[in-house]
């Protein structure tokens, strides 16, 4: 069995909250030992040695809520291109969304995409399935069969189940199976037709807008149903300060609740839309600077558990439209780490905190053994230089779709190498 020794690395340990020089010994696809000696002298015998030259080594990113265009929209993204983008971005596990066409709502479709993913994607792919059939909010899917077929969670993505009776039954049934349910906290009535957050900016641009309060209303309702059913609940994106107290209260009261947020809401605000730039149209819409600051603080304190890219590939045609008519969403698998390093360079988040939200917490929430730098954990790793500057060129991205709001952005930080189960799946040129 080959042994690999990664020496002279700066190890980011999100569990301990530390960054320290050290070495990692990998064997059989798992981390065999974490060594405090950067040279790894004691483990050198018979090992293939790679000198990390003082770069950062962290557990690979687990990206919760990635849209891949299979089935239905392979022209936007395939498992192969999504996998390549993930590898180039230090994402070692993709957790896919079922908002495909058709929706992933039967065990047969789920098995099809698992097979497709395992054939072509260089990183791990774990699917989520729809909570209701066709994501229509009327009947629950075959939650048990889907769980048996490998669904790691259930979600209707950005479709909110408006019928609370349907939702409460689905949550109760999911609870009996111990399944994780991910919801999109949003009041669908208030947010109908909106493409921006209400405020001075949206008013001046004349865009139909939604009050940020709609997120809190959606979360309040969901949390009441969590209290009623006891389900394991994850809010996909919390993006406003008004929603945070309710989240904090639910956690304090001991409910099995976690929450995520997106890379875009952490690094951009509503003003970035400027003159109707549709690549900045995401769902929920970008928020005020005050909200952005509050969400960063919530990630720092641990109130928000997970950061995801909410990778949503869209072709040029669906974006080159008037803002209201343009499709929402941005690609993010490959850009997430360098973009989020802006928060590290600005001193807003330290690296262990960042990787707690990117790797450790999502892995823990899904019951995965990865996300940690510890003996016995899978050797899913990302090696990166946090300082290397570059200008992002969207046409150089691996994704089939190039809809990133960071085209031309000055970023700092490059992935040098990505390993999945100890095997190199990406190495920067």
């Amino acid at each position: 069995m080959t042994r690999t020794l990664l020496t002279h690395a700066r190890l980011i340990d999100p569990e301990a909250g530390t960054v320290a020089p050290g070495a990692l010994l990998l064997e059989g696809g798992v981390i065999r030992a974490v060594l405090a000696d950067p040279a790894g002298t004691e483990a050198r015998d018979g090992a293939e040695v790679t000198d990390c030259r003082n770069a950062f080594l962290a557990p690979g990113i687990v990206d919760l809520g990635v849209k891949v265009g299979e089935p239905g929209e392979r022209h936007k993204e395939s498992f192969k291109t999504a996998g390549l983008a993930a590898a180039a971005g230090g994402v070692t596990t993709i957790v896919t969304r079922p908002d495909t066409s058709p929706a992933i709502d039967t065990p047969e479709v789920l098995e099809f995409i698992r097979r497709r993913a395992n054939e072509v994607a260089p990183v791990r792919v774990l699917p989520m399935a729809a909570l209701t059939k066709g994501r229509e909010g009327r009947e629950m899917t075959e939650l048990g069969f889907l769980l048996d077929a490998g669904a790691v969670g259930f979600t209707d993505c950005d479709h909110v189940v408006t019928d609370t009776k349907v939702l409460s039954r689905a949550l109760t049934y999911a609870r009996s199976l111990g399944a994780l349910v991910m919801c999109h906290p949003q009041d669908p009535g208030l947010s109908a037709g909106a493409s921006a957050s209400s405020g001075k900016f949206a008013s001046l641009r004349g865009l139909p807008a939604v009050s940020p309060m709609a997120e809190r209303m959606g979360l309040d309702r969901d949390l009441a149903l969590v209290e009623m059913t006891g389900v394991r609940y994850h809010a996909d994106q919390i993006t406003t300060s008004r929603a945070l107290p309710a989240l904090e209260r639910a956690k304090r009261n001991g409910f099995d609740v976690t929450a995520g947020t997106s890379m875009h809401h952490l690094t951009l605000n509503e003003m970035d839309v400027a003159d109707y730039r549709t690549f900045f149209k995401v769902k929920p819409p970008l928020r005020s600077e005050d909200d952005r600051q509050a969400v960063i603080e919530a990630v720092r304190s641990g109130l928000i558990d997970v950061i995801g890219s909410f990778h949503t590939p869209q072709d040029e045609e669906s974006k080159r439209l008037p803002f209201e008519a343009a499709a929402a969403g941005a690609v993010g698998l490959e850009t997430m780490l360098p973009v989020l390093l802006r928060l590290y360079h600005s001193g807003e988040l330290d690296l262990p905190t960042l990787f707690r939200a990117l790797s450790l917490n999502p892995a823990k929430r899904l019951g995965l053994p990865c996300g940690r730098l510890a003996a016995g954990a899978p050797a899913d790793l990302v090696l990166f230089d946090a300082d290397k500057p570059f200008i992002l060129d969207r046409f150089k991205l691996q994704s089939k779709s190039k809809n990133t709001p960071f085209d031309g952005a000055r970023l700092q930080g490059k992935v040098l190498q990505t390993l999945v189960a100890g095997r190199s799946v990406y190495r920067s040129a």
């Binding site: 037709g193 209400s198 405020g199 001075k200 900016f201 949206a202 008013s203 001046l204 641009r205 004349g206 865009l207 807008a209 009050s211 003159d275 109707y276 045609e317 080159r320 439209l321 008037p322 803002f323 209201e324 008519a325």
Partner: protein
Amino acid sequence: MRFDQRHLLGIEPLRADEITTLLDLADQYVTLSRRREKHSSLLSGLTQINMFFENSTRTQSSFELAGKRLGADVMNMSMQASSIKKGETLIDTALTLNAMHPDLLVVRHPQSGAVDLLAQKVHCAVINAGDGRHEHPTQALLDALTIRRAKGRLHRLNIAICGDIAHSRVARSNLLLLHKMENRIRLVGPATLMPAGIDAFGVEVYDNMEEGLRDVDVVMMLRLQKERMDGGFIPSEREYYHRWGLDAEKLAHAKPDAIVMHPGPMNRGVEIDGTIADDINRSVIQEQVEMGVAVRMAAMDLLARNLRARPTELSA
């Protein structure tokens, strides 16, 4: 005298001196338009295309007349009935247009920002004739010219903009323009028809007409945009008229020489009493229509000068 714009997409990008330049020129076109011989050949040889993705008789005729008086070849394209229905995107429309080599393009579109998008893709000068709830710059300019001619100045006036602010591109453009020219602005109307974030606009907000109109120099009424409303913003038209419709009693709170404006078309008995609208001592609504043609002539003249100053672009 300077006017450094390639397009007229909104009031937001204009400087105060550019607005003054345009209004000064428009004054000359008022004089021209009142002569028996109204024709000039300034735009002779240039092609103007009016492209209306949303129905409008008044604005479209005004632009058409302005172009014809300046000697341009004017073509009207009603986009409602045409290729949009066949699924053509705005970008494809732009490419088609480029092949026709127009010099001036006048666009109205129901979605905010659509005219900006089109302007990025075409080679000619673009005039925004109204996009969604965003801007309607020539309306604000004609209102400004009307005020300046009636009041003798366009600064330090108390101006009330009343009614459906939320759905109105006219209100946004007027707000921006009157701010740039240093006036005091009040917005008067029901809270449901005020845009969000209004506190940050630097205006005074009233939901009571009597208080809102007290001692103002100019009363601008807006049309209740029933077609843009997706659900009940007001309980009924009769309650709206009772509380926010402009009648003699409410107008009595304004200055005795205050003028009354309306961008048209009016809903008589909804936002304005018919007798006020027709009162030649107070209402300048007819003048607004006249100024509309003059302002549009001035805008096209200035854009055409900038167009001619640039080397001919070969279409890519």
